[in-house]
Structure formats: structure tokens, C-alpha cells
Symmetry: C2
């Protein structure tokens, strides 16, 4: 593996585990057993690393939301979107735990984040157009605009809701199943507009996603795909 990729993967793991504010480039270099100078050769600052990780997050998020061009969308596509989005949130969870701070510190991240939000919401609009064509949702124009903004907000704010609201108990540490529970909230947002197979399977889905599984999964940040980390 190239040193640049090793730095990104290690940084992501450390940011997710310890919080971005508590990790310096020296920590990252030490954890990789490389010199600070070697790290500096690849990334001139922590902000550089954060920005590269954001770009990787962006690519995989936009990939997850692509609409099939050659066929009608299916119910499984629909569930696939939700699973993929919340997987990405988990892989890059440090981004959403302290987004306000990260955006305040980096002007280019603020610009890129706004572009990203625009692209995701435009792609979500395509997804709902596809679902309409596939007769899986019935929703008006104004409603779909409102829905997409609400989905964006609930999705990107879910991690901080889990840790700050006390909804899942006091001083909760974010786990993969807590994050996954956010899918239930998105299903609630969509529920009134579902039709056909999507409506028929709704109560089964609500049951499946409302609970929190007790799991002790391996650190998922290790499983991040390398493809998206090389630019």
C-alpha cells in the first residue's frame, strides 16, 4: 500500500476513535512508525488530511446514490441506498461528530461541503424520480423538496442526536447499531409516501430497524474501501 493511503487510513481510524481535535499529525506519524517529515511530504497539515478524507467520503457517498440507467428502480435499490448511506456515515463518523468546528477551521472545506450538499440533494431528487417511475412512491413536487431537506438534516445530524439527546441512555458512545437506527427515522420520513411493495413491507421494516442490536463488531474503519481513498 502506498504511504499516502496508509496515512489516510490511519488518520481516519484515529479521528474516529479519539476525535479529530485530540489527534495531531505527530500522533499519526508515530502510529504509522514514520517520521513527521515523511508525513509532511504527503500532507502539509492536518487540514490537508481532513480534506482528503472528506473527498473520499464524498466520492463514496455519491457513488452509493447513483441511479440505475438501464432499468427501473427496485425496492432493493431503495433499501440499498439507506444501508449504503448509513455505512458511509459510520466509516467517516468523525466528520459528523464535530462538523461545525471542522467547517469553521477550513474555508475550502466549507466550499466543498456546500457543493457536496447540493450534489447529494440533486441526486436524492433523481432517486425519488426513479422511485416514482417505479411506482414505489407517490409524492408531489413541493413535498419531495421538503422531504429531501428533512432527510439530509436527519441523516447528517443523527450522530449528534445519538450522543447528545439521551434518547439511548446517558453518555452514550456512538456505535454502529446506534447509527444504523437512523435508518428507522428515514423510513418514518418516507413512510407516508410509499406505495406498492415499499408500502406492503413497511411494517416489517419498521420492526426491523426500530431496535438497537447489541453488537460488538470489529472496528469498521479498517474495512473502508481503498479505491475511494486514492485520488
Amino acid at each position: 500500500m502506498k504511504t499516502k493511503d496508509r496515512i489516510l487510513i490511519k488518520s481516519l481510524g484515529l479521528f474516529n476513535a479519539d476525535g479529530e481535535r485530540n489527534v495531531t499529525t505527530n500522533h499519526i506519524a508515530a502510529a504509522l512508525n514514520i517520521s513527521p517529515g515523511n508525513l509532511y511530504y504527503h500532507f502539509r497539515s492536518k487540514e490537508d488530511i481532513i480534506f482528503a478524507l472528506f473527498q473520499a467520503y464524498q466520492s463514496s457517498m455519491l457513488d452509493s446514490l447513483s441511479v440505475p440507467q438501464d432499468r427501473v428502480m427496485t425496492y432493493d435499490d431503495k433499501m440499498g441506498y439507506l444501508e449504503a448511506i448509513f455505512n458511509q456515515l459510520w466509516e467517516y463518523r468523525f466528520l459528523h461528530r464535530d462538523l461545525g468546528h471542522l467547517l469553521e477551521e477550513s474555508q475550502r472545506l466549507r466550499v466543498a461541503y456546500r457543493e457536496f450538499a447540493k450534489k447529494v440533494m440533486a441526486q436524492a431528487y433523481q432517486v425519488y424520480s426513479g422511485l416514482r417511475e417505479a411506482d414505489l412512491v407517490v409524492i408531489g413536487e413541493q413535498e419531495v423538496r421538503g422531504l429531501i431537506v428533512n432527510i439530509w438534516i436527519v441523516t447528517t445530524s443523527w450522530a449528534s442526536f445519538v450522543t447528545s439527546s439521551g434518547f439511548f441512555g446517558d453518555e452514550v458512545a456512538l456505535s454502529r447499531s446506534h447509527l444504523r437506527r437512523g435508518i428507522f427515522q428515514i423510513i418514518c420520513l418516507e413512510a407516508p409516501y410509499l406505495k406498492g411493495e415499499a408500502r406492503d413491507r413497511l411494517s416489517e421494516l419498521m420492526r426491523r430497524y426500530e431496535g438497537i442490536e447489541n453488537e460488538s463488531q470489529p472496528n469498521a474503519s479498517q474495512s473502508v474501501e481503498l479505491g475511494v481513498l486514492t485520488d
Copy 2:
């Protein structure tokens, strides 16, 4: 006015205008033309002031959500809740611009915030029970639970959505009408469940709240009610 109240009102104004991180107790004392010692006599730290402001925010938020005991709820009650909630968000907007940071810094604020979230969601549940009795909404048990969490998240995250998403333009400064536009998002959340007068007036409401008014209002933090600031 008591010095303690003057300190709270001035602090609120400064936190809202300049961001809590950029305001020290010395700034506050200087702005009031009192000595740091006098301020210290009333509040031993900035965290003390923030906590007192949070308590004031909490009281007025819970007051705004109280359910009439002696009569059936009306459509105007329903709109009154939304207006009141978003007014409180505006008055105390510093709290929601950087909540993650504030919670990280203060253990008692974390505890109080969780209690607050529980109380608000329980009161929202009472509101929806009232609206059901008044035949203004039709909604199932699981749906109302999901809806209340989504309303909480969209409401408390709306300020950061406005400033970070680019949805209202680049590098937007939060205004009262931006915040008020959040009411549209809450109406979208509720829309599928409305009935009777609430449903009949829905399209009028959606039109009224979807736009952003161009306004240059006086600094609204001045209009905060004193009652809730004295404990």
C-alpha cells in the same frame, strides 16, 4: 433591573452576535461598564452564565409547549407552537450554533440537556395526543414516536443547516427569517398526518412559509422576556 439580569441579557446578546467562543467574561463586564469582580460576584464563570441562559431557554421552550387543560386544542394552538418554538430558537441561537462544543465543555449542561430533550419530547407527545383528540391529526403510535424524534432533530439542527449547507447561498449569516423558514420543514414533516382544518389550510401554509422574507429586523435578542431570565 437587577445586575444579574443585566449580565444575562448582555451575555445573550454578545453570544448571539459574536459567537460564544469569542466572548469572555471580561468582554461582558466591559460591555456593561461593571468591574470583573462585580460580574464574578453573580457568576463565577462563563459556564455559569451559559448554564443560566440554558435554563431560561428551557423554561420558555417548555412554557411554549404547554397543552390547554380546559378545552380542546385548536388549529391556532398548533401554529402557535411552531411560531413560539422558532422564536425561542432565534432568541437563544448561540446555543444551537455550537451545541456540540458547549456540551463537551460542561458536564452539568450535558445532563440538563438530556433532561430537557426528554421533557420536550414528552410534551410534544402530549401535544400530538391533544391534536388527535381535536381531530386535527391522524397518526399511529409508532409513527408519532418517529415523527417527534424527526421534529426534534430538524428543529435543533436547522440553524446549522442554514449556515453549512449552502441551501440559502454561500457563507450565509443566520437571520430571523432563515430560522423561521424551518417552520416549513416541520410542516412538511407533519403534512401527511393532518386532517380537518389543518389539512384544508395546508397549501396556504406551505406557500406562506416556504419563502425567505427579506427583512432587516432590529436585534431581536433585546426583546427577550425578562420573566424567564430571573430564577
